[in-house]
């Protein structure tokens, strides 16, 4: 097994700042979209096993709605925007006005619901990646957004395949945003999973030494 935490404190702070800047920009977009105040939590940086990744969102079998964007370019990786099913439903309701959305059995789902979630994910992850690109000066090319509503394990492991050929740990920058006004407002998690090589490029672009 390799070193579990390869980063210095300074490097961890840099990764947190990346989460701050990305999710901060995404929270602003979300606020405009639902016309409400949106807050964000302090990002956390985790270097964890694949099983622990599943636990982040409530365990491998928990149903989630996830929009995933694959980043290519100078710092490849994945960005996920993850909502619980309930949160995804209230998000859809607040955007489309449609009540009683059935997200889990959406084989014949009306396109409006699917595209509402996809487009929201696209806008938010897009803001995240734009902010990241501006901050680091790196060229980041996001893919189109992919949506999956299914078990967290199944959805998240799809994003771990590239990483898993190199290591058994994932580096995850986790930032939660939430609708500020109510207790049970919409919460969503941004997970940024840089490929192992990408961290060195992120540090370098910000003038931080790779060896800390």
């Amino acid at each position: 097994m390799e070193e579990k935490n390869p980063f210095s404190l300074v490097q961890i702070d840099v990764l947190k700042e990346i989460g701050n800047i990305g999710a901060g920009n995404a929270a602003t977009s979300m606020s405009r979209l639902i016309n409400k105040k949106v807050d964000m939590q302090v990002p956390s940086v985790k270097i964890i096993t694949f099983d622990e990744v599943m636990e982040l969102v409530g365990g491998a079998e928990t149903p989630v709605a996830a929009v995933m964007i694959n980043i290519e370019g100078e710092a490849p990786g994945k960005v996920y925007f993850i909502l619980t099913i309930e949160e995804a439903k209230s998000l859809i309701t607040s955007i489309t006005g449609q009540q009683d959305v059935d997200l889990l059995n959406n084989t014949e789902q009306d396109d409006l619901v699917v595209s509402a979630v996809k487009e929201t994910g696209n806008i938010l992850t897009g803001s995240y990646i734009t902010a990241l690109s501006d901050f680091t000066g790196l060229l980041l090319k996001p893919s189109v957004p992919y949506l999956s509503v299914d078990m967290a394990g199944a959805v998240l492991s799809a994003g771990l395949i590239d990483v898993s050929t190199v290591t058994d740990y994932a580096i995850i920058i986790d930032t939660q945003i939430n609708e500020g006004e109510t207790e049970n407002g919409i919460k969503g998690n941004f997970l940024f999973l840089p490929d192992p090589d990408s961290c060195a490029r992120l540090f370098h672009s910000l003038g931080i030494q790779n060896d800390g």
Binding site: F50, D51, A60, S148, M151, A154, S157, V166
Partner: protein
Amino acid sequence: MGDTATVVKVGIADLNIVSVPDKIRTSGLGSCIGVVIYDLSNQMAGLAHVMLPDSAMAKQDNLNKYKYADTAIDILVDKLIVAGAEKFALKAKMAGGAQMFQFTSGNDFMRIGPRNAAAVEKRLKFHRIRLIAKDIGGNSGRTIEFDPETGKLHIRTISEGERVI
């Protein structure tokens, strides 16, 4: 359902074996494959949650042998035989290998499910273990549970309910 039976859980890129009355289970299979190798006469079974097809694609020095179809199946077979299973009696079932996101263009990792499935079948053939049943592909996550007493594999999905193979 026995009251004292335990359900042994297998994580991602992990494997384990059980015997009656215990059952063995793994959750949230996406492109990964859950492969069960069992000996009904000795009432035992092993399950591996395979993530990648071939250990030759590893880019790490101390590779995790439980992660790859070829190495995980070798270890599973060994463990079963050490625990008292008969090699000639071994049979297999498998599930998983879905595509969770509907990619339009493809780099390799996006098609990993079918490659995982093919690699598992190939390694089973190498060990002359008959594949009795499989539930592969589609785009739903699966949770599977195997009972070494009945030889039945229960497969649960969120949108399509449960089936038994």
